[in-house]
Symmetry: D2
Subunit: 389 residues, 4 copies
Amino acid sequence: MPRPTGRHFLQIPGPTNVPERILRAMAQSTIDHRGPEFVELWNDVRAGLARIIGTKGGVVLYPGSGTGAWEAALSNTLNPGDRVLMCDTGHFAAKWLEMASQIGLQPEVIEVEWGNGADPEAIEAKLKEDENHKIKAVCIVHNETSTGVASRLKEVRDAIDTSRHPALYMVDTISSLASIPYHQDDLGVDVTVGCSQKGLMLPPGFGFNGISDKALDAAKSARKARSYWEWTAMIQAAKSGSFSYTPPTNLLYGLREAVSMLEEEGMDNVFARHDRHAEATRRCVRHWDLELVCRNPEEYSSSLTAVWLPQGHDADEFRKVVLERFNMSLGNGLGQLAGRVFRIGHLGDFNDLMLAGTLSGVEMGLAIAGVPFNKGGVQVALDYLAGNA
Amino acid sequence: MPRPTGRHFLQIPGPTNVPERILRAMAQSTIDHRGPEFVELWNDVRAGLARIIGTKGGVVLYPGSGTGAWEAALSNTLNPGDRVLMCDTGHFAAKWLEMASQIGLQPEVIEVEWGNGADPEAIEAKLKEDENHKIKAVCIVHNETSTGVASRLKEVRDAIDTSRHPALYMVDTISSLASIPYHQDDLGVDVTVGCSQKGLMLPPGFGFNGISDKALDAAKSARKARSYWEWTAMIQAAKSGSFSYTPPTNLLYGLREAVSMLEEEGMDNVFARHDRHAEATRRCVRHWDLELVCRNPEEYSSSLTAVWLPQGHDADEFRKVVLERFNMSLGNGLGQLAGRVFRIGHLGDFNDLMLAGTLSGVEMGLAIAGVPFNKGGVQVALDYLAGNA
Amino acid sequence: MPRPTGRHFLQIPGPTNVPERILRAMAQSTIDHRGPEFVELWNDVRAGLARIIGTKGGVVLYPGSGTGAWEAALSNTLNPGDRVLMCDTGHFAAKWLEMASQIGLQPEVIEVEWGNGADPEAIEAKLKEDENHKIKAVCIVHNETSTGVASRLKEVRDAIDTSRHPALYMVDTISSLASIPYHQDDLGVDVTVGCSQKGLMLPPGFGFNGISDKALDAAKSARKARSYWEWTAMIQAAKSGSFSYTPPTNLLYGLREAVSMLEEEGMDNVFARHDRHAEATRRCVRHWDLELVCRNPEEYSSSLTAVWLPQGHDADEFRKVVLERFNMSLGNGLGQLAGRVFRIGHLGDFNDLMLAGTLSGVEMGLAIAGVPFNKGGVQVALDYLAGNA
Amino acid sequence: MPRPTGRHFLQIPGPTNVPERILRAMAQSTIDHRGPEFVELWNDVRAGLARIIGTKGGVVLYPGSGTGAWEAALSNTLNPGDRVLMCDTGHFAAKWLEMASQIGLQPEVIEVEWGNGADPEAIEAKLKEDENHKIKAVCIVHNETSTGVASRLKEVRDAIDTSRHPALYMVDTISSLASIPYHQDDLGVDVTVGCSQKGLMLPPGFGFNGISDKALDAAKSARKARSYWEWTAMIQAAKSGSFSYTPPTNLLYGLREAVSMLEEEGMDNVFARHDRHAEATRRCVRHWDLELVCRNPEEYSSSLTAVWLPQGHDADEFRKVVLERFNMSLGNGLGQLAGRVFRIGHLGDFNDLMLAGTLSGVEMGLAIAGVPFNKGGVQVALDYLAGNA
């Protein structure tokens, strides 16, 4: 097989295609993280990230990953044995849940058939039942990256409010932030969990939390042992523009550039673009006569689309064909979806022709892999894109 | 209009999409062009370029452009007033012809309707007529970038041989080299003219000549005043791994990488890839019911496809729509084709999905610009690509 | 004040001057961390890092920092309430000690006057006293970055052996690895703690552990709650060339390059170079008649040199002069040394002329800041470097 | 010999150390040179370059080198057989002179002992003699890169004026522009010749001309055959923001950045910085008891310092020692100075500590190469730099 040529299509739902502006920004020489130039960088970046998150509260950023930011959220606010309400909406929700157990919390799980989002009614019921307020937090994955389902955060907020429950509201925005509308303060979220390599268009390497005053108060009394993830030291250090340990300087260069790019485009345009690409993708998939993993149109994800392969066809074999023949990476099925589902990422730095190339690669791959499908999906997507461009 | 997002599709027929390997190679610090490290670089690069050109003869490289390499070819071998036989196959052939006049040569022109390649029969006739051998060179543009027509170099060589004419054979391979099969020595070409920004996948910035012994002999007696373009000093300097003036060091880094990339892929694979993308493009264009500029299937270019817009439609307006809506640059009509033709570059570092995106952008652009066409060309291209991938 | 020109001298003891080879390696596009190309990268990098650490045991790498790798070392092997023996040799030893407390361990502290290394005799005495083996680990900072003191690891190992104590031996090699000789297996170290931004010449962004079989056994029974830092999942994932969460792909590109650079130079040459630059620096400092923080010649650090300013002179004011006038960052005094000490980093990608520039900047800065000193230190360093180059 | 480590010191008098800002700017993807984004780039760059040159006249830029810009200057304005007055002030003046002959002009040479600048009195005398105004141009190398001598341009202008001679005044600013004060219009220069890789801090790859109205008028009647270098087509194309052939796009990205960097610093600061570094270098050289090539303090170059080695010592051997032991490239002796002279470049993106490193490398190299010299030159330079920083 000859060397792959041309640009790789990285159409997994993150890491996303890092734009060259960001790669170049990150290629700047590392500076003294205790010098005046760093202070300016870090202050800029923190303010920018707060705007993206939509909060006037604190922002804490860790060299790490989204997984680390999950742990930070839980370990700063909760005590060993605390109950946390979680919805098993997919592979990543399940991983967060597993983490909660590992670090000594007691997850209360609402089972959800994968393909659906968090269930606001069930949440409300659970919270109402919990008269003694043993549940200390409600933890929701905004956009479940394994299924392409976006939970209805506002309805979950309403459920908490209606049940007059004091639980903290924590949201994983890992694959939604800067792709799907989100505003921590407007949604009354207490802890936002995010990371670098999705809508922010950066390579992987940092995770972060947006933190409400209520969460910060909880942190004061939380006895859970923690050191690396400790918010207080970070927030204290940030006041003087510094970090409690060595910061990921070059990623911060990239983040500064990412915030600029997003704001040059305008966040509303960013969201509209993601919506449009997701809709084009779904129309294409429907025309192929393949089934979406996401069941509820209200919960369609604008970041990615997860698709079932027909029974008897191996999604990983199909993805291998696409990689080898068309130099494109698609997302695999995770957990119970392994081998049965593939995922198309259409988030981050993306445009119509990249999407056209992506869908073309899927359509040709289906043909070559011998998966039965209805030809012409790309054409349907193009019709949609041309009509609404 | 919001900021364009995603990767720009640079689908003009050169400069082509520079692969990041080359951009990064070129971002290395400049070195002393008189030091030992440069000697190694320059020797490597010269040998690699000779392999790509297909010659055991000399190779001279100039900071400059393809235009400069045209001038070098003419001014090193010819004397003021010399007659040169040229075919007016398109805009670039016409420019080379204009240059020949400007620098004091007498071009003998074979008129060709644009859309056709150089006419071997007419060349043979002209050479036979020229019993006194006043014609000193036959100058052919291998791949005419303005029309997407590849002249039949072997037939031209045969025409020269049949007419037993001693004229030098000069070939502009600017948009063919490393895209369309070419081998200077096998074709009996005396001077090859090429540059960086097409099949070599580099940014613009240098031109070069491959030089046969016969051409070198001609250079010894050529009295045409020249300094910058002088071969002899260059060839002399190259013997010690140096340059007669300051070389374009960073582009040489890129060229070393380009040669590696091409040879990793294998030149036969490179050519087959270009053929395949060109064929897919033509099938798409035919399905759209648009007309190719190239008339003769034997002369189809594998580097680019030039396409007529129907009467009454402005190709530049159409290209503007494509640029603004789809972040893609297409080639414009040049010379007599201005406003009536657009050109799709499919050369350089390219792959199936980039082509799918490219053709999708054209198809959507036609729809939006109100150009009448038959929908479904992209689908036809995909069918071809999937069947032959 | 005009814009600073030329190359910044980043002479803090880490992050170090990242060589352009590494910056360019890191500027490659991010790839699918679940695809075959990643497997190859990650296997390469892990093997390379194991060679640098000097271990045939496991290597676990985290998106994070050295601080995170400290926490990983402690939390994977120990149980809440476990006693750990630590020496307060400087600011970073003190921070590790503080972390041990924060996460629920009981540090047993051997006080050391800063400027000295870990005291093998005191360690031996403590371990002998601990007849019931309540001490579960001996934790040593190899090179204390705040004082420029390299502890004698072999003597500490001997102390543990002599006292026949089963405690794990953990070593922080953050500012020693790839600068000062270190070999985990030969030294009988159980857990190595390291990170990216010092001798490995990378930007900050990951930490890692080298892990002996004994440490791995301890991890099986350690009940300390952990998730992000959990070794087992990491080691399990690594068997198939994957990661338990999203890896810091672009830093791994850089690490691959770093390992190549170090091995091209040869580790013995790397160490000899650091020794030589450190010796030149100390001769220079002595000529200036300034005092080294490190008291014991056997414990001189080859990574950095920490220097006392005379009483009444503010080290931070001096560093500010150097930064503003000479575009060089020096390390500050930390903890009890704040304002009284400055630190010269001479580790990582460095050479004689960079050192000459560095020492020149210090000498000129001393003059301008009005610090009393004996002129001519740079000359002394040059004499040494020229004599031994 | 182990791999060289750390940053290479590129202390030849051009190419200079390219700052990473420029390398990164140049690593941007190439764009369509016929699209709207290019128009903006090219207009910006042309305006910026005109400010650096100090002209309200035309600016023409060529993919090429300074050598090419020499040819452009001569071939656009002069006719075959025209006499040009030139001063043989060094290797590069001699090369320009040689070129003038090669392309059919008749150079009138004023011999100057190398180490001196152009002689305004001799020029005045020659011009006064030339009552029939057969001399069409006076051509001066502003800063002779082979000797480190800066000719007195104002005095030459005065000489032309005093003699009331209509000759064009052409100046090679290749190694002076953006390092030594120069203002085309104020000096009454008709053609400025420059290139990318010196004070403009770019890699090599383009040359340019600044053109007065008088020169443009001369171009209209000049019959010298030319095509690539033709000003008119270039100037015409520039009016619509385009180029008459493919432009060196990525170098233009770099030039835009270079102009920004210079103007952020402030041109007066740029010049003062070069003066200061040159003065420090000369004091150092004098202390070493080595002889400067430049004889006249009024003609000292602020770009570079050329130094004689004592009789019996081979400058190239010395430079080899410096390269191999200290990873620094110094300029060689050229022409009649070969093997006897070395040159220290201190132009471009440079600072005090880079200079200290540079001079340290020379001083240590002298010692190792066994060249007799008086130790302590670096110290003298540091004293000067600290006193005047």
